[in-house]
Amino acid sequence: MTFFPPWPNCIVLNTAGKNTEITRSVLGAYRKPKPAVMAAKPKLWYFHGRGRMESIRWLLAAAGVEFEEEFLETREQYEKLQKDGRLLFGQVPLVEIDGMELTQTRAILSYLAAKYNLHGKDLKETVRYQSARANTWFFSKLCLPIRRLRSDAAFQPGGRGGDKGRCFLALAVKKAKTRYFPVFEKVGCGDPDFLVGNKFSWADIQLLEAILTMEELDASVLSDFPLLKEFKTRFSNIPTIKKFLQPGSQRKPPPDSHYVEVVRNILQF
Protein backbone atom coordinates (compact mmCIF):
# COMPACT_ATOMS: atom_id res chain seq x y z
CA MET A 1 0.00 0.00 0.00
CA THR A 2 1.42 3.39 -0.95
CA PHE A 3 0.90 6.45 1.26
CA PHE A 4 0.57 10.04 0.13
CA PRO A 5 0.29 13.39 1.99
CA PRO A 6 -3.32 14.31 2.93
CA TRP A 7 -4.46 16.35 -0.09
CA PRO A 8 -8.13 17.27 -0.09
CA ASN A 9 -10.40 15.67 -2.65
CA CYS A 10 -10.01 17.99 -5.58
CA ILE A 11 -9.05 18.17 -9.19
CA VAL A 12 -5.63 19.74 -9.59
CA LEU A 13 -4.35 21.06 -12.88
CA ASN A 14 -0.69 20.31 -13.32
CA THR A 15 1.63 22.46 -15.39
CA ALA A 16 0.82 20.60 -18.58
CA GLY A 17 -2.81 21.54 -18.14
CA LYS A 18 -3.94 17.98 -17.65
CA ASN A 19 -6.16 16.77 -14.83
CA THR A 20 -4.73 14.93 -11.89
CA GLU A 21 -7.18 13.47 -9.46
CA ILE A 22 -6.05 12.41 -6.06
CA THR A 23 -8.39 10.49 -3.84
CA ARG A 24 -8.23 9.58 -0.19
CA SER A 25 -9.67 6.54 1.44
CA VAL A 26 -11.61 6.73 4.73
CA LEU A 27 -8.90 4.88 6.61
CA GLY A 28 -6.31 7.56 5.88
CA ALA A 29 -4.35 5.39 3.50
CA TYR A 30 -4.04 6.95 0.12
CA ARG A 31 -4.46 5.36 -3.21
CA LYS A 32 -1.95 6.06 -5.96
CA PRO A 33 -2.79 9.08 -8.10
CA LYS A 34 -4.65 8.22 -11.30
CA PRO A 35 -2.79 8.62 -14.58
CA ALA A 36 -2.88 12.21 -15.74
CA VAL A 37 -4.80 11.71 -18.95
CA MET A 38 -7.40 9.04 -19.67
CA ALA A 39 -5.69 6.69 -22.07
CA ALA A 40 -6.58 7.80 -25.61
CA LYS A 41 -8.72 5.45 -27.63
CA PRO A 42 -6.95 3.35 -30.26
CA LYS A 43 -7.41 4.86 -33.71
CA LEU A 44 -7.89 2.63 -36.71
CA TRP A 45 -7.01 3.74 -40.25
CA TYR A 46 -8.54 1.64 -43.04
CA PHE A 47 -11.14 1.53 -45.77
CA HIS A 48 -14.78 1.51 -44.77
CA GLY A 49 -15.09 -2.24 -44.93
CA ARG A 50 -13.94 -5.49 -43.40
CA GLY A 51 -10.72 -6.41 -45.18
CA ARG A 52 -7.75 -6.94 -42.91
CA MET A 53 -9.03 -4.60 -40.22
CA GLU A 54 -12.12 -6.54 -39.26
CA SER A 55 -10.37 -9.07 -37.04
CA ILE A 56 -8.84 -6.12 -35.16
CA ARG A 57 -12.27 -4.52 -34.70
CA TRP A 58 -13.59 -7.84 -33.39
CA LEU A 59 -10.81 -8.14 -30.87
CA LEU A 60 -11.22 -4.60 -29.57
CA ALA A 61 -14.99 -4.94 -29.41
CA ALA A 62 -14.84 -8.26 -27.59
CA ALA A 63 -12.40 -6.79 -25.09
CA GLY A 64 -14.85 -3.93 -24.51
CA VAL A 65 -12.39 -1.33 -25.78
CA GLU A 66 -13.80 1.77 -27.47
CA PHE A 67 -11.98 2.76 -30.61
CA GLU A 68 -12.05 5.49 -33.23
CA GLU A 69 -11.89 5.00 -36.96
CA GLU A 70 -10.54 7.11 -39.81
CA PHE A 71 -11.82 5.84 -43.15
CA LEU A 72 -9.71 6.03 -46.27
CA GLU A 73 -11.86 7.24 -49.09
CA THR A 74 -9.43 8.89 -51.48
CA ARG A 75 -6.03 8.18 -52.95
CA GLU A 76 -4.84 11.52 -51.56
CA GLN A 77 -5.54 10.49 -47.97
CA TYR A 78 -3.57 7.32 -48.48
CA GLU A 79 -0.66 9.12 -50.10
CA LYS A 80 -0.56 11.58 -47.23
CA LEU A 81 -0.25 8.77 -44.71
CA GLN A 82 2.62 7.34 -46.72
CA LYS A 83 4.33 10.68 -47.21
CA ASP A 84 4.04 11.46 -43.50
CA GLY A 85 5.97 8.26 -42.87
CA ARG A 86 3.23 6.71 -40.80
CA LEU A 87 3.01 3.44 -42.70
CA LEU A 88 6.18 1.46 -42.10
CA PHE A 89 5.77 -0.61 -45.24
CA GLY A 90 3.42 1.77 -47.01
CA GLN A 91 0.41 -0.34 -46.06
CA VAL A 92 -2.74 -0.29 -43.98
CA PRO A 93 -4.15 -1.46 -41.53
CA LEU A 94 -2.64 1.18 -39.31
CA VAL A 95 -3.51 1.38 -35.62
CA GLU A 96 -2.39 4.28 -33.46
CA ILE A 97 -2.12 3.03 -29.92
CA ASP A 98 0.03 3.79 -26.87
CA GLY A 99 2.15 6.25 -28.77
CA MET A 100 2.93 3.73 -31.51
CA GLU A 101 1.92 3.60 -35.15
CA LEU A 102 1.48 -0.13 -35.62
CA THR A 103 1.04 -1.81 -38.97
CA GLN A 104 0.96 -5.50 -39.94
CA THR A 105 -2.27 -7.14 -38.89
CA ARG A 106 -0.77 -9.98 -36.88
CA ALA A 107 1.57 -7.65 -34.99
CA ILE A 108 -1.40 -5.45 -34.08
CA LEU A 109 -3.57 -8.38 -33.03
CA SER A 110 -0.82 -9.85 -30.90
CA TYR A 111 -0.17 -6.56 -29.12
CA LEU A 112 -3.85 -5.95 -28.46
CA ALA A 113 -4.40 -9.50 -27.27
CA ALA A 114 -1.55 -9.15 -24.79
CA LYS A 115 -2.61 -5.68 -23.69
CA TYR A 116 -6.23 -6.61 -23.08
CA ASN A 117 -5.34 -9.89 -21.54
CA LEU A 118 -6.75 -12.04 -24.27
CA HIS A 119 -4.04 -14.62 -23.98
CA GLY A 120 -5.52 -15.58 -20.68
CA LYS A 121 -5.08 -14.47 -17.08
CA ASP A 122 -1.75 -16.12 -16.48
CA LEU A 123 0.83 -13.89 -18.08
CA LYS A 124 3.84 -15.50 -16.48
CA GLU A 125 6.46 -16.68 -18.90
CA THR A 126 5.86 -20.28 -18.10
CA VAL A 127 5.93 -23.07 -20.62
CA ARG A 128 2.17 -23.35 -20.27
CA TYR A 129 1.67 -19.72 -21.14
CA GLN A 130 4.16 -19.91 -23.96
CA SER A 131 2.50 -22.95 -25.43
CA ALA A 132 -0.94 -21.40 -25.01
CA ARG A 133 0.36 -18.33 -26.80
CA ALA A 134 1.86 -20.46 -29.52
CA ASN A 135 -1.45 -22.27 -29.84
CA THR A 136 -3.34 -19.00 -30.02
CA TRP A 137 -1.20 -17.91 -32.93
CA PHE A 138 -1.87 -20.98 -34.90
CA PHE A 139 -5.53 -21.23 -34.10
CA SER A 140 -6.02 -17.66 -35.13
CA LYS A 141 -3.94 -18.07 -38.22
CA LEU A 142 -6.19 -20.90 -39.31
CA CYS A 143 -8.96 -18.51 -40.08
CA LEU A 144 -6.66 -16.58 -42.36
CA PRO A 145 -6.81 -18.78 -45.46
CA ILE A 146 -10.59 -18.77 -45.27
CA ARG A 147 -10.59 -15.02 -44.85
CA ARG A 148 -8.20 -14.58 -47.75
CA LEU A 149 -10.46 -16.59 -50.00
CA ARG A 150 -13.44 -14.51 -48.98
CA SER A 151 -11.74 -11.19 -49.56
CA ASP A 152 -10.11 -12.37 -52.78
CA ALA A 153 -13.57 -13.40 -53.95
CA ALA A 154 -14.76 -9.82 -53.70
CA PHE A 155 -11.96 -8.64 -55.98
CA GLN A 156 -12.55 -11.14 -58.77
CA PRO A 157 -14.18 -9.86 -61.96
CA GLY A 158 -17.87 -9.75 -61.27
CA GLY A 159 -17.22 -9.57 -57.55
CA ARG A 160 -18.47 -12.19 -55.14
CA GLY A 161 -21.42 -12.98 -57.37
CA GLY A 162 -19.32 -13.62 -60.48
CA ASP A 163 -18.10 -17.06 -61.53
CA LYS A 164 -14.65 -16.80 -59.98
CA GLY A 165 -15.98 -15.04 -56.91
CA ARG A 166 -18.49 -17.76 -56.24
CA CYS A 167 -15.78 -20.37 -56.78
CA PHE A 168 -13.55 -18.77 -54.15
CA LEU A 169 -16.41 -18.55 -51.70
CA ALA A 170 -17.38 -22.17 -52.29
CA LEU A 171 -13.76 -23.16 -51.66
CA ALA A 172 -13.71 -21.15 -48.43
CA VAL A 173 -16.79 -22.98 -47.20
CA LYS A 174 -15.33 -26.32 -48.24
CA LYS A 175 -12.07 -25.65 -46.40
CA ALA A 176 -13.97 -24.55 -43.33
CA LYS A 177 -16.07 -27.72 -43.34
CA THR A 178 -13.34 -30.21 -44.15
CA ARG A 179 -10.13 -28.87 -42.70
CA TYR A 180 -10.69 -26.29 -40.01
CA PHE A 181 -14.04 -26.80 -38.32
CA PRO A 182 -13.39 -30.49 -37.65
CA VAL A 183 -10.24 -29.58 -35.74
CA PHE A 184 -11.99 -26.98 -33.64
CA GLU A 185 -14.88 -29.34 -33.01
CA LYS A 186 -12.37 -31.88 -31.74
CA VAL A 187 -10.51 -29.44 -29.54
CA GLY A 188 -13.80 -28.16 -28.20
CA CYS A 189 -14.43 -31.68 -26.92
CA GLY A 190 -11.41 -31.51 -24.63
CA ASP A 191 -12.06 -28.04 -23.32
CA PRO A 192 -15.76 -27.25 -23.40
CA ASP A 193 -15.62 -23.60 -22.48
CA PHE A 194 -12.66 -22.05 -24.18
CA LEU A 195 -10.32 -22.83 -27.00
CA VAL A 196 -7.00 -22.03 -25.43
CA GLY A 197 -5.77 -22.48 -21.90
CA ASN A 198 -9.22 -22.28 -20.31
CA LYS A 199 -9.53 -18.57 -20.89
CA PHE A 200 -11.60 -16.44 -23.23
CA SER A 201 -8.97 -15.73 -25.79
CA TRP A 202 -8.19 -14.09 -29.03
CA ALA A 203 -8.45 -17.47 -30.74
CA ASP A 204 -12.04 -17.82 -29.58
CA ILE A 205 -12.92 -14.44 -31.07
CA GLN A 206 -11.34 -15.31 -34.39
CA LEU A 207 -13.15 -18.62 -34.51
CA LEU A 208 -16.47 -16.94 -33.82
CA GLU A 209 -15.79 -14.42 -36.56
CA ALA A 210 -14.94 -17.24 -38.97
CA ILE A 211 -18.10 -19.16 -38.07
CA LEU A 212 -20.37 -16.17 -38.53
CA THR A 213 -18.88 -15.17 -41.85
CA MET A 214 -19.04 -18.75 -43.12
CA GLU A 215 -22.69 -18.86 -42.12
CA GLU A 216 -23.27 -15.76 -44.21
CA LEU A 217 -22.14 -17.82 -47.18
CA ASP A 218 -23.80 -21.12 -46.22
CA ALA A 219 -26.33 -21.17 -43.43
CA SER A 220 -25.91 -24.93 -42.93
CA VAL A 221 -22.13 -24.86 -42.55
CA LEU A 222 -22.30 -25.89 -38.89
CA SER A 223 -24.74 -28.73 -39.40
CA ASP A 224 -22.12 -31.40 -38.63
CA PHE A 225 -20.55 -29.52 -35.75
CA PRO A 226 -22.78 -29.47 -32.67
CA LEU A 227 -20.04 -28.27 -30.33
CA LEU A 228 -19.22 -25.37 -32.61
CA LYS A 229 -22.90 -24.47 -32.74
CA GLU A 230 -22.98 -24.41 -29.00
CA PHE A 231 -19.74 -22.39 -28.89
CA LYS A 232 -21.25 -19.90 -31.32
CA THR A 233 -24.41 -19.44 -29.25
CA ARG A 234 -22.51 -19.05 -26.02
CA PHE A 235 -19.95 -16.61 -27.35
CA SER A 236 -22.48 -14.54 -29.27
CA ASN A 237 -24.15 -13.88 -25.94
CA ILE A 238 -21.09 -12.50 -24.22
CA PRO A 239 -22.19 -8.89 -23.56
CA THR A 240 -19.40 -7.12 -25.46
CA ILE A 241 -19.76 -9.44 -28.42
CA LYS A 242 -23.54 -9.30 -28.38
CA LYS A 243 -23.26 -5.52 -28.58
CA PHE A 244 -20.86 -5.73 -31.51
CA LEU A 245 -23.26 -8.04 -33.35
CA GLN A 246 -26.08 -5.56 -33.18
CA PRO A 247 -26.91 -3.13 -36.00
CA GLY A 248 -25.24 0.25 -35.57
CA SER A 249 -22.02 -1.20 -34.16
CA GLN A 250 -18.63 -0.68 -35.81
CA ARG A 251 -18.82 -4.11 -37.39
CA LYS A 252 -18.58 -3.85 -41.17
CA PRO A 253 -20.79 -5.57 -43.78
CA PRO A 254 -19.52 -8.01 -46.42
CA PRO A 255 -17.64 -6.30 -49.26
CA ASP A 256 -19.85 -4.94 -52.03
CA SER A 257 -18.94 -3.47 -55.41
CA HIS A 258 -18.61 0.06 -54.01
CA TYR A 259 -16.07 -1.10 -51.43
CA VAL A 260 -14.12 -2.98 -54.11
CA GLU A 261 -14.10 0.15 -56.27
CA VAL A 262 -12.81 2.39 -53.47
CA VAL A 263 -10.04 -0.04 -52.57
CA ARG A 264 -8.98 -0.51 -56.21
CA ASN A 265 -8.89 3.24 -56.64
CA ILE A 266 -6.87 3.93 -53.52
CA LEU A 267 -4.42 1.06 -53.91
CA GLN A 268 -4.36 1.48 -57.68
CA PHE A 269 -4.77 -2.07 -58.87
Binding site: L88, F89, L102, A107, Y111, R133, A134, N135, W137, F138
Partner: protein, 223 residues
Protein backbone atom coordinates in the same frame (compact mmCIF):
# COMPACT_ATOMS: atom_id res chain seq x y z
CA UNK B 1 16.57 -32.64 -19.25
CA UNK B 2 14.61 -31.96 -22.39
CA UNK B 3 15.99 -33.45 -25.59
CA UNK B 4 16.99 -31.38 -28.55
CA UNK B 5 14.19 -29.88 -30.64
CA UNK B 6 13.35 -32.13 -33.57
CA UNK B 7 12.39 -30.58 -36.90
CA UNK B 8 10.13 -32.43 -39.31
CA UNK B 9 10.32 -31.17 -42.89
CA UNK B 10 11.73 -32.05 -46.26
CA UNK B 11 15.43 -31.50 -46.94
CA UNK B 12 15.14 -27.96 -48.24
CA UNK B 13 14.61 -24.38 -47.13
CA UNK B 14 10.89 -23.80 -47.55
CA UNK B 15 9.07 -22.70 -44.42
CA UNK B 16 11.46 -24.40 -42.06
CA UNK B 17 14.58 -22.41 -42.89
CA UNK B 18 13.73 -19.38 -40.75
CA UNK B 19 13.22 -21.75 -37.83
CA UNK B 20 16.64 -23.31 -38.45
CA UNK B 21 18.20 -19.83 -38.54
CA UNK B 22 16.53 -18.80 -35.29
CA UNK B 23 17.53 -21.93 -33.41
CA UNK B 24 21.06 -21.68 -34.75
CA UNK B 25 21.36 -18.00 -33.83
CA UNK B 26 20.10 -18.84 -30.34
CA UNK B 27 22.87 -21.42 -30.10
CA UNK B 28 20.40 -24.29 -29.81
CA UNK B 29 21.34 -27.67 -31.23
CA UNK B 30 18.55 -29.39 -33.08
CA UNK B 31 17.83 -32.63 -34.88
CA UNK B 32 16.13 -33.04 -38.22
CA UNK B 33 13.92 -35.83 -39.48
CA UNK B 34 13.61 -35.40 -43.22
CA UNK B 35 10.45 -36.27 -45.04
CA UNK B 36 11.65 -38.05 -48.16
CA UNK B 37 8.55 -39.75 -49.53
CA UNK B 38 4.90 -38.79 -49.64
CA UNK B 39 4.31 -41.81 -47.41
CA UNK B 40 6.44 -40.25 -44.66
CA UNK B 41 4.12 -37.26 -44.66
CA UNK B 42 1.09 -39.55 -44.66
CA UNK B 43 2.46 -41.35 -41.65
CA UNK B 44 2.90 -38.11 -39.70
CA UNK B 45 -0.67 -37.18 -40.58
CA UNK B 46 -2.10 -40.54 -39.60
CA UNK B 47 -0.19 -40.54 -36.32
CA UNK B 48 -2.01 -37.35 -35.43
CA UNK B 49 1.30 -35.52 -35.18
CA UNK B 50 0.24 -32.70 -37.48
CA UNK B 51 -2.63 -30.73 -36.07
CA UNK B 52 -3.61 -29.23 -39.39
CA UNK B 53 -2.04 -31.90 -41.57
CA UNK B 54 0.84 -29.58 -42.46
CA UNK B 55 4.54 -29.19 -41.85
CA UNK B 56 6.77 -27.57 -40.54
CA UNK B 57 6.35 -29.40 -37.28
CA UNK B 58 8.79 -29.04 -34.41
CA UNK B 59 8.88 -31.35 -31.41
CA UNK B 60 9.97 -29.19 -28.50
CA UNK B 61 9.39 -29.26 -24.73
CA UNK B 62 6.89 -32.07 -24.99
CA UNK B 63 4.84 -30.32 -27.65
CA UNK B 64 4.39 -30.95 -31.35
CA UNK B 65 4.20 -27.39 -32.59
CA UNK B 66 2.96 -26.56 -36.07
CA UNK B 67 2.51 -23.23 -37.86
CA UNK B 68 5.75 -21.45 -38.58
CA UNK B 69 4.92 -18.27 -36.72
CA UNK B 70 3.81 -20.12 -33.61
CA UNK B 71 7.04 -22.09 -33.62
CA UNK B 72 9.17 -18.98 -34.16
CA UNK B 73 7.37 -17.06 -31.42
CA UNK B 74 7.80 -19.89 -28.96
CA UNK B 75 11.50 -20.24 -29.68
CA UNK B 76 12.04 -16.49 -29.54
CA UNK B 77 10.28 -16.21 -26.18
CA UNK B 78 12.13 -19.16 -24.76
CA UNK B 79 15.56 -17.88 -25.80
CA UNK B 80 14.99 -14.19 -25.03
CA UNK B 81 14.89 -13.01 -28.61
CA UNK B 82 11.51 -11.32 -28.32
CA UNK B 83 12.19 -8.00 -26.64
CA UNK B 84 11.75 -7.03 -23.02
CA UNK B 85 8.08 -5.99 -23.02
CA UNK B 86 4.89 -5.88 -25.04
CA UNK B 87 5.79 -2.74 -26.95
CA UNK B 88 9.15 -4.12 -28.05
CA UNK B 89 7.38 -7.31 -29.03
CA UNK B 90 4.93 -5.30 -31.14
CA UNK B 91 7.80 -3.69 -33.03
CA UNK B 92 9.55 -7.03 -33.44
CA UNK B 93 6.31 -8.54 -34.77
CA UNK B 94 5.75 -5.65 -37.15
CA UNK B 95 9.27 -5.93 -38.58
CA UNK B 96 9.12 -9.74 -38.74
CA UNK B 97 5.84 -9.60 -40.64
CA UNK B 98 7.35 -7.23 -43.19
CA UNK B 99 10.31 -9.56 -43.66
CA UNK B 100 7.89 -12.46 -44.05
CA UNK B 101 5.87 -10.64 -46.73
CA UNK B 102 8.95 -10.17 -48.91
CA UNK B 103 10.37 -13.57 -47.95
CA UNK B 104 7.15 -15.25 -49.05
CA UNK B 105 7.45 -13.70 -52.50
CA UNK B 106 10.99 -15.00 -52.84
CA UNK B 107 10.06 -18.43 -51.52
CA UNK B 108 7.29 -18.87 -54.07
CA UNK B 109 9.46 -17.91 -57.02
CA UNK B 110 10.46 -21.49 -57.93
CA UNK B 111 6.77 -22.35 -58.22
CA UNK B 112 6.07 -19.44 -60.54
CA UNK B 113 5.09 -20.38 -64.13
CA UNK B 114 8.06 -19.68 -66.46
CA UNK B 115 6.22 -17.02 -68.46
CA UNK B 116 5.50 -15.00 -65.32
CA UNK B 117 8.91 -15.39 -63.73
CA UNK B 118 10.61 -12.29 -65.09
CA UNK B 119 7.72 -10.08 -64.04
CA UNK B 120 7.74 -11.65 -60.58
CA UNK B 121 11.48 -11.11 -60.17
CA UNK B 122 11.10 -7.49 -61.23
CA UNK B 123 8.35 -7.04 -58.67
CA UNK B 124 10.46 -8.57 -55.91
CA UNK B 125 13.38 -6.28 -56.76
CA UNK B 126 11.10 -3.26 -56.82
CA UNK B 127 9.57 -4.07 -53.45
CA UNK B 128 12.97 -4.72 -51.98
CA UNK B 129 14.48 -1.42 -53.02
CA UNK B 130 11.38 0.77 -52.72
CA UNK B 131 9.51 -0.63 -49.78
CA UNK B 132 11.24 -3.07 -47.48
CA UNK B 133 14.93 -2.18 -47.44
CA UNK B 134 14.21 1.56 -47.09
CA UNK B 135 11.85 0.86 -44.19
CA UNK B 136 14.46 -1.10 -42.25
CA UNK B 137 17.29 1.27 -43.15
CA UNK B 138 15.17 4.09 -41.75
CA UNK B 139 14.49 2.23 -38.50
CA UNK B 140 18.21 1.68 -37.98
CA UNK B 141 19.03 5.27 -38.94
CA UNK B 142 16.41 6.79 -36.61
CA UNK B 143 17.74 5.21 -33.45
CA UNK B 144 21.33 4.68 -34.55
CA UNK B 145 21.56 1.45 -32.57
CA UNK B 146 23.13 -1.83 -33.52
CA UNK B 147 19.91 -3.84 -33.64
CA UNK B 148 16.39 -3.18 -34.79
CA UNK B 149 14.67 -3.16 -31.40
CA UNK B 150 15.76 -2.31 -27.90
CA UNK B 151 19.46 -2.22 -28.70
CA UNK B 152 19.55 -5.98 -28.40
CA UNK B 153 19.51 -8.92 -30.79
CA UNK B 154 15.99 -10.15 -31.46
CA UNK B 155 14.24 -12.48 -33.86
CA UNK B 156 13.58 -9.46 -36.10
CA UNK B 157 17.31 -8.99 -36.73
CA UNK B 158 17.80 -12.67 -37.47
CA UNK B 159 14.86 -12.87 -39.90
CA UNK B 160 15.98 -9.68 -41.64
CA UNK B 161 19.58 -10.81 -42.05
CA UNK B 162 18.41 -14.15 -43.43
CA UNK B 163 16.29 -12.22 -45.94
CA UNK B 164 19.25 -10.03 -46.90
CA UNK B 165 21.21 -13.16 -47.77
CA UNK B 166 18.38 -14.31 -50.07
CA UNK B 167 18.15 -10.93 -51.74
CA UNK B 168 21.89 -11.00 -52.31
CA UNK B 169 21.63 -14.44 -53.86
CA UNK B 170 19.17 -12.94 -56.29
CA UNK B 171 21.06 -9.72 -57.01
CA UNK B 172 23.87 -8.39 -54.79
CA UNK B 173 23.52 -4.88 -56.19
CA UNK B 174 20.16 -4.49 -54.42
CA UNK B 175 21.97 -3.90 -51.16
CA UNK B 176 24.05 -1.06 -52.59
CA UNK B 177 22.23 1.92 -51.11
CA UNK B 178 21.63 0.48 -47.67
CA UNK B 179 24.78 0.86 -45.58
CA UNK B 180 23.08 0.31 -42.24
CA UNK B 181 21.50 -2.91 -43.44
CA UNK B 182 24.89 -4.05 -44.64
CA UNK B 183 26.23 -3.22 -41.19
CA UNK B 184 23.50 -5.23 -39.48
CA UNK B 185 24.17 -8.16 -41.76
CA UNK B 186 27.89 -8.07 -40.96
CA UNK B 187 27.27 -7.70 -37.25
CA UNK B 188 24.78 -10.55 -36.97
CA UNK B 189 26.87 -12.77 -39.26
CA UNK B 190 29.87 -12.39 -37.01
CA UNK B 191 28.06 -13.58 -33.88
CA UNK B 192 29.72 -16.93 -33.07
CA UNK B 193 26.57 -19.04 -33.36
CA UNK B 194 25.54 -17.42 -36.65
CA UNK B 195 29.07 -17.57 -38.04
CA UNK B 196 29.08 -21.30 -37.38
CA UNK B 197 25.70 -21.69 -39.10
CA UNK B 198 26.99 -19.85 -42.15
CA UNK B 199 29.86 -22.26 -42.64
CA UNK B 200 29.71 -25.26 -44.97
CA UNK B 201 28.60 -28.43 -43.25
CA UNK B 202 26.03 -26.71 -41.05
CA UNK B 203 22.31 -27.47 -41.12
CA UNK B 204 21.68 -24.42 -43.31
CA UNK B 205 20.04 -25.44 -46.59
CA UNK B 206 21.13 -24.34 -50.08
CA UNK B 207 18.89 -22.49 -52.56
CA UNK B 208 16.22 -24.60 -54.19
CA UNK B 209 17.38 -26.15 -57.45
CA UNK B 210 15.40 -28.17 -60.00
CA UNK B 211 16.02 -31.44 -58.18
CA UNK B 212 14.98 -30.02 -54.81
CA UNK B 213 11.85 -28.55 -56.39
CA UNK B 214 10.89 -31.88 -57.93
CA UNK B 215 11.42 -33.58 -54.59
CA UNK B 216 9.20 -31.04 -52.81
CA UNK B 217 6.48 -31.38 -55.43
CA UNK B 218 6.60 -35.15 -55.15
CA UNK B 219 6.43 -35.18 -51.35
CA UNK B 220 3.69 -32.62 -51.07
CA UNK B 221 1.89 -33.96 -54.11
CA UNK B 222 1.94 -30.62 -55.91
CA UNK B 223 1.29 -30.82 -59.65
Amino acid sequence: MAGKPKLHYFNGRGRMECIRWLLAAAGVEFEEKFIEQPEDLDKLRNDGSLMFQQVPMVEIDGMKLVQTRAILNYIATKYNLYGKDMKERALIDMYSEGVEDLGEMIMHLPLCPPDQKDAKIAQIKERTTNRYFPAFEKVLKNHGQDYLVGNKLSKADIHLVELVYYVEEMDPSLLANFPLLKGLKARVSSLPAVKKFLQPGSQRKPPMDEKNLEEAKRIFRIK
